[in-house]
Symmetry: C2
Subunit: 365 residues, 2 copies
């Protein structure tokens, strides 16, 4: 539930702080015992808690887009970050089988630029339409020097909270239905989504200099444009598959920590592992960037999504029909591997230094 968008510099401290926060939060749950908004058991420590409102089950989650904001400041394009913001929160809900419905956002700025605010909010609107969520609240806070950023324009940090509903009669998805032999389906990402940007920026600045965003990448776009590539929003696909009656045993939104951490989190519920020989290739620019920074294969799979923004786990018998159903929607999917009984995540790394990678899954909580 409480996560940390770490810079990658001190994951342990980030996890420690998140645990402290969760410990205090957990002790507020009894305020709602037997009342509307009572947190239901079962998703403890996951992304979203499900609350009961007299039989209506809802979940609330919050997140921000981290330092991807700097890329928008560098490129001067502000109307795509909404896709990153919406994706970060609605896809965390979708990973628990919850259909996102409403969203509220907070924009912290140093000082206001109406044109930039307008572009940001247009992007939020566009993304909300894709995700089928209504933006029902918002706040713009002028915080002066408490908000910093790149260049001379308006600087900002942006976060949101999303409210979702667990459809009547449907179970939440928490990984407890997963078993050895289940099939893993990878959903293609479009780029870095909204995680791992501290490393992206560090490598690009070291290799291409302080104005790295204006340097050309090989496909004709600038590196700034490449890095800014907006996130795909997966939640409508998850809802669609559930509406079609498919039983998703597990759904993992690949954010900070990559496949090893984020998929590992749902694998540990039943003490399982996975063999993933067939994830999507990372995007060419990810490989290129990995090469520029001479980053070990093991590290990049732990920090970036490497081309796979969400993993679905289904019964092997459902693999073909689910792939077919996904194909019809236009999302790109791949049979990536299977669930194993051992607590290890094995990945055939397809980055700049291809290698078989083996991650010992974190112990059960």
């Amino acid at each position: 539930m409480v996560g940390s968008k770490s810079s990658g510099l001190d994951i342990d401290l980030g996890n420690h702080c998140s645990a402290l926060a969760y410990g205090w939060a957990r002790r507020t749950f009894d305020t709602r015992r037997g009342l509307p908004g009572e947190p239901l058991a079962g998703l403890d420590g996951q992304f979203s808690n499900v609350m009961d409102f007299g039989g209506v089950r809802l979940a609330l989650t919050s997140d921000g887009i981290g330092t991807k904001t700097e890329i928008a400041e560098r490129v001067g394009v502000y109307n795509t970050l909404g896709f990153d913001l919406v994706a970060m929160v609605v896809d965390d809900l979708a990973a628990n089988g919850i259909e996102p419905v409403n969203l509220t956002n907070i924009l912290d700025v140093d000082r206001l630029d109406a044109e930039v605010v307008d572009a940001l909010m247009q992007g939020l609107h566009d993304a909300a339409k894709v995700a089928n969520v209504a933006v029902v609240g918002g706040e713009i806070a002028e915080l002066g020097s408490r908000v910093g950023g790149w260049g001379d324009g308006m600087h900002f940090n942006w976060c949101a909270a999303a409210l979702g509903i667990l459809a009547p009669g449907r179970p939440a998805i928490d990984g407890s239905a997963m078993k050895p032999g289940d099939a893993v389906i990878a959903l293609r990402s479009r780029g870095f989504r909204s995680n791992g940007f501290s490393l992206v920026r560090k490598v690009l600045e070291a290799q291409l200099g302080p104005s790295w965003h204006n340097e050309k990448y090989e496909d004709g776009r600038t590196w700034g444009e490449v890095a800014l590539t907006p996130s795909i929003i997966y939640s409508p696909l998850v809802s669609h598959l559930r509406d079609r009656g498919f039983n998703l045993h597990g759904v993992s939104h690949i954010t900070g920590g990559g496949v090893p951490d984020k998929f590992g989190r749902i694998l540990k519920v039943n003490g399982l592992g996975a063999f993933l020989p067939n994830l999507f290739d990372p995007h060419p620019f990810m490989k290129h960037l990995q090469g520029l920074g001479q980053l070990p294969e093991e590290q990049v799979y732990r920090l970036w999504n490497m081309g796979n923004g969400m993993l679905l786990v289904v019964d092997p018998g459902d693999l073909a029909p689910v792939l077919m159903a996904i194909h019809e929607t236009g999302y790109q999917a791949m049979p990536a591997g299977e669930i194993t009984p051992d607590p290890v995540i094995r990945i055939m790394g397809k980055g700049a230094a291809p290698a078989e990678l083996s991650y010992v899954r974190a112990p059960k909580a």
Copy 2:
């Protein structure tokens, strides 16, 4: 719905940006037509929208604590800001008659200090217990130089979203029940709550120097301690009065913009005004600060709560029993005046330069 915690430097630009944001948000409402989470009409442009979930009516709102964080950094006390954060969001819900039930928060930091995070989250826990809300989600984002602040410690900005329920059979409170002759009740605040701190800091720095927070105020506390005074949380009182069966015609949470702006917002629904000869006196330290900065009476009532954190509007026949009911709870209340038919808010200012103040209410939307 979309507000702006302005520095007071350019209210017009803040309002313009909020209007832009609301315009885009409004156009996402149709994504939920006939579906769970459909925004209901009636609170357009107010703090919270009410959404329908098959007869269960919920509202979601978000806000942050602005630059009050700097006061905690200066004083080195972090376990009271939770009261400010919770108050900002739950009392916006309460102002619409919505009972807050759940909360999620985002803490943006430059770098992590586990001790500070622990103190912040303890305060959030303590405040959540007072407000009867369960903290069901949270995120800590490490944003490096995108977050600034005072001194050498961890710098941070903190915001939250709160989910509330409109009890079955009860109307939302939007000011439409208010009529001339209704009684206005003021609820005493404890200090600046979480608004107007740009001006607080500006005056103190100009008069007492860069280490103003260590200077003694006349009651023995430092100016830093005075400024950090945590917010009272009013939502349990509003719920209590509604549970007792009292009909609240209007509720106004006095935040940025003070009584003229925030009370004006609900007065304009029916094109009304108010005569408020008997608001609580501002706190002595507010008057002292006003004197230090030689701030005009008219200005401080528009930027600070001046001792009154919430206003309630009731039928004149309910005035005495409501005051009695409030008295029993320990909250401090005062009969402050009455609703008038003219679009003017008249206040007997009791600050450092007492004067009768007259504010023309903003026109109907």
